[in-house]
């Protein structure tokens, strides 16, 4: 099993969620994060003083999935989250050793 972490643009969350639901993904966890990257923040003026905004608002998506689903999920995220402009984000794939569903105690694939 894999633990997929995606950092995307906030306004893309809905499309991505729908894309994943389309694939039969039944669950995901979302966190509001701030991103720092190539998409250099812009400079702002506040009360006459210039300053750089380094961090851009992003949304982090965590999805646990079976190995066979990973490619599909990663592609789905990519297609849905892509605007082609810098700052679109990244998808990280980590190994996942086990899952437990709190409600039932099921483990492994059954708990996804």
């Amino acid at each position: 099993m894999k633990f997929i972490i995606a950092v995307i643009k906030p306004q893309k969350l809905d499309e991505v969620r729908q894309a994943l639901t389309g694939l039969g993904v039944e669950g995901m966890t979302v966190t509001e994060v701030k991103g720092f990257g190539r998409q250099k923040g812009h400079t702002e003026v506040y009360r006459g003083a210039e300053y750089k905004v380094d961090f851009m608002p992003k949304v982090k998506l965590e999805v646990a999935a079976n190995d066979d689903q990973v490619t599909a999920i990663v592609d789905a995220i990519r297609n849905a989250a892509q605007t082609g402009r810098i700052g679109d984000g990244k998808v990280f794939v980590l190994g996942l050793e086990d899952i437990v569903r709190v409600r039932t105690g099921e483990t492994g694939a059954a708990a996804i």
Binding site: E44, V45, Y46, R47, G48, A49, E50, Y51
Partner: protein, 434 residues
């Protein structure tokens, strides 16, 4: 229905079959009885005082909105406490220092105030109504200081400063003019509602504090200015609207009388000029920030409203509307340019009180002769300088004294964590803020 008075009155009267009496009025002489005049004057003080009292809430919201959330609760404590302390100090010391001064004198009487209505018709208003009105003015000056030194000053030293400011510093300088002291008698200095006596006084005390205290950690590090955005601009805007509202009482009430046709006209004209100066300050700041920074800066627009209001405060009666607009517009110019300027000088004025209250207060005071022939430029200058030097020097000394004795500056850790958590042990927005 025509929305003009006469028909309305007739209609109203008719509706109550009082047309006769309504007409009968024409006969009566156009002066109010002394009792009515007395009540009108007292009412003016009380109602004006109420909205000026409410300015304490306005300052609190403006400050709370312009500081970071980790210091917002401390701002609340400071603002409600300073208003309370001002009331007590003006009672114990302030009032008699202001009005106990001898003609042309420099220092009034020391003593607790108590209402004296023995010569009711002589004074023409209830003693307590006047005291109330004067007291809320003093509180205003203290509120100004609070905003400048926010986010890094310790609570108790600040409150001690407020006690001295409201009990001694403000009253002494106010006595020179409103008490009929030196500036009034010798220089026919003119400051109708307190551009200098209230606002510059608060501004000078704030400036001294900002210098002695130093800037917030990180504000001017690495040779650049790091903005520290206010945590709730809607509350800051609400605060500004409340201040604007209060200003009608602040300037209108300073006519000090409402019992005659001429006084009523004066108060009305003051309302209009006060409003128009603020409008001009807002519009000017809006346009200038757009031109200068490429973006409208709400926080400077808010300062622009206040700058316009402070500017017209020295003389809200004699200007024509056009002149009031101009005087207020310059207030908007001043704040737009003075705010970045102070940053260049590394003077950290969290809410922009110094540009709005001190600089615009000076501007408003110096321009009085333009519209009021009773005033002259020299006299105005003397007043501005004399009060400025007095308030700044004494405040600077007091801030320094507090610094060396008990310390006025929160520790770096406290500043990092925020005064709320460290000094008050709570959070202004425990569920939201970062």
């Amino acid at each position: 229905m025509r929305k003009l008075l006469i028909p309305a009155v007739v209609a109203g009267a008719a509706a109550f079959g009082l047309l006769g009496t309504a007409a009968a009025q024409e006969a009566v002489a156009p002066v109010a009885s002394d009792a009515s005049v007395y009540v009108f004057n007292t009412t003016l003080f009380l109602i004006s005082g109420m909205v000026v009292m409410f300015m304490a809430a306005g300052f609190c919201m403006l400050e709370v909105g312009l500081v970071r959330s980790k210091n917002a609760a401390t701002i609340c404590v400071k603002n409600i406490a300073l208003y309370s302390i001002a009331g007590i100090m003006v009672w114990l010391l302030g009032y008699n220092l202001i009005y106990g001064v001898s003609e042309g004198g420099l220092f009034g009487k020391i003593g607790v105030w108590g209402a004296d209505d023995s010569d009711a018709l002589g004074t023409g208003y209830a003693a307590s109504s006047d005291w109330y009105f004067q007291m809320v003015f003093v509180a205003t000056a203290a509120s100004i200081v609070s905003g400048t030194v926010a986010e890094r000053i310790k609570l108790f030293p600040f409150l001690i400063f407020v006690a001295v400011l409201t009990g001694v510093i403000y009253p002494i300088q106010a006595s020179w003019e409103w008490g009929g002291g030196y500036l009034d008698a010798r220089w026919s200095f003119s400051d109708f509602a307190g551009s200098t006596l209230v606002h510059s006084t608060g501004g000078w005390a704030a400036l001294a504090g900002a210098i002695v205290l130093g800037a917030r950690k990180g504000k001017y590090e690495g040779g650049q200015v790091s903005p520290m955005p206010g945590s709730s601009l809607p509350l800051a805007t609400l605060g500004t609207f409340i201040l604007w509202l209060g200003w009608f009482g602040f300037n209108g009430g300073s006519q000090l009388a409402l019992g005659s046709i001429s006084d009523a006209q004066s108060v009305a004209n003051i309302f209009v000029n006060t409003n128009m100066a603020a409008c001009a300050g807002v519009v000017t700041a809006l346009i200038l920030t757009q031109l200068r920074f490429g973006k409208v800066d709400l926080t400077i627009v808010l300062n622009g409203a206040i700058g316009g209001l402070v500017a017209i405060t020295a003389e809200p009666l004699t200007p024509s509307i056009g002149q009031a607009v101009l005087i207020g517009a310059v207030g908007g110019v001043i704040v737009t340019f003075a705010i970045p300027l102070l940053d260049k000088l590394k003077i950290d004025d969290v809410v922009g009180a110094i540009p709005a209250h001190l600089f615009c207060g000076i501007w408003g005071t110096l321009i009085v002769p333009w519209t009021n022939s009773d005033a002259n430029f020299v006299g105005q200058l003397v007043g501005v300088v004399m009060i400025g030097v007095f308030v700044f020097v004494v405040s600077f000394a007091l801030w320094t004294l507090l610094k060396v004795t008990m310390g006025i500056r929160a520790s770096e850790d406290v500043e990092n964590l925020g005064l709320d958590k460290s000094e008050l042990g709570l959070e202004a927005y425990p569920e939201f803020a970062s």
